[in-house]
């Protein structure tokens, strides 16, 4: 279906308008202006905020600048979670832009992993891709690939070139969706192999997914779940939730308490998880699902 390719593009090009403000207690030599940026949902905070760091470093003394970290309404933001997941989980039902506070001091060791270089992000990203393939294909597909193919997946995530709108610090992506040599094509040339499965099967061995909720103590729910039931029927998102997190499903005559969100939308619970896995996974090949309170308005 041609519609399915559109879903892949919509997921890839999703952006979140964000306003970065320096934490008030950071020591500055002059006033720090906020910095506006459109963040790619599919990327990671520390991968796309070099310009943010440079912007605030300009008003700070060199010795006061240590590792950058980000916080939203008091919650440190885990850079190793994709940006779209962080937004869906913490701020999806609040007014845009997403207001993120930038810190350079008092790194919260208990909440955040250190990110000392781009290599750390690459290692984390590739580990997720490998873990996903361990679930989907017993690692057969990822292991058959050459190192250069792995590199191509990572390169697909690297910053697109951005155009600066003259007279402002607002940036928009320069790569147009129609361009044939853009990062999307580069990424999917390899990633499509990770989305294949033997013709005799109806899907992957297990679906790589993680379910997040802000209120719980556990970091996320991840379990073995087959895309096809024993009777040959495709398992749906509803089936997945029933099995691993039944509390997220609204009872028959009950009031809807939660939203089940992926990439900023609520897929119908009747959607087959195999389809979701192929079309709405993040570049790390995981379905990152947020359970958030139903907004009351």
């Amino acid at each position: 279906m041609t519609d399915d390719k559109d879903v892949l593009r919509d997921v890839w090009f999703g952006r979140i308008p964000t306003c970065f403000t320096l934490y008030q207690d950071e020591i500055t030599e002059r006033e720090a202006e906020p910095y506006y940026l459109l963040l790619p949902r599919i990327s990671y905070l520390t991968l796309v905020t070099d310009k943010v760091k440079k912007h605030f470093q300009k008003v700070m003394r060199q010795e006061d600048v240590t590792e950058i970290w980000f916080e939203y309404e008091g919650t440190p933001l885990k850079w190793h979670f994709p940006i779209g997941l962080l937004f869906d989980l913490h701020a999806s039902n609040t007014a845009l832009p997403w207001n993120i506070t930038v810190h350079f001091k008092n790194f919260p060791e208990k909440d955040l992993l250190h990110c000392t270089s781009k290599d750390v992000i690459e290692a984390h990203f590739m580990a997720c891709v490998k873990e996903a393939d361990a679930l989907k294909h017993k690692s057969q597909v990822i292991n058959e690939m050459q190192k250069k193919d792995h590199k191509q997946l990572w390169m697909g995530l690297q910053n697109d070139h951005y155009h600066l709108i003259p007279g402002s610090n607002l940036e928009i992506p320069a790569n147009l969706p129609a361009s044939p040599n853009n990062k999307f094509d580069q990424f999917w040339a390899i990633n499509r192999k990770l989305m294949e499965y033997p013709p005799e099967d109806s899907g992957f061995r297990y679906i790589p997914f993680r379910i997040y909720q802000v209120t719980t103590e556990r970091p996320f729910i991840q379990k073995l779940f087959r895309p096809v039931a024993t009777n040959g029927q495709l398992n749906t998102l509803g089936d997945l939730l029933k099995e691993v997190y039944p509390a997220a499903i609204t009872p028959e005559d009950g009031e809807k308490k939660n939203q089940v969100m992926v990439h900023g939308i609520e897929p119908m619970l009747e959607t087959p998880v195999q389809w979701l896995s192929e079309h709405m996974s993040y570049p790390d090949n995981f379905l990152h699902i947020s359970i958030i309170p139903q907004p009351t308005d």
């Binding site: 190793h80 992993l113 290692a123 984390h124 590739m126 580990a127 997720c128 490998k130 873990e131 361990a134 679930l135 690692s139 990822i142 292991n143 190192k147 792995h150 297990y206 103590e217 556990r218 970091p219 996320f220 991840q222 379990k223 073995l224």
Partner: protein, 161 residues
Amino acid sequence: MLHALVSPGRGWDGRTAANSLSRHEGVGGAGSVAAELCVRRAAYAWGRGSCLCRRCAAPLFLHSPAPHPASALALVDVLLKAVGDTPIMKTKKWSVERTRTIQGLVDFIKKFLKLVASEQLFIYVNQSFAPSPDQEVGTLYECFGSDGKLVLHYCKSQAWG
């Protein structure tokens, strides 16, 4: 014989604690069952804020932050295998709390092997991927465990990228 994952602390070192536990060993089947019950009872007790395992006087610091509910303290069996020229742990089989993170496991192995804290240690699942330091052992066990245990390879250098 399955040992509890012991974090040395409050004046106890790994050796002393391990020796305390080993007092249950060599007593035959009853001894090992007693030891295992001791471990699991202590694990459960920790959830209530106190350690019951005073009989062998081994303090089982299973989790330094605030106690978790008992269900979270369920233990999973982990088999640790050395890769390359990384020192081999004398005890390879461990009972680990579900909520212990990979970082917590790394810290424990480093202490046990007397490695310097600054030395790197990589952990691999299925000899194919290195889980994130904040990953929980329980989740990895559920997804990648086999024959009732989770096999983890550890290495001082990057083995599988």
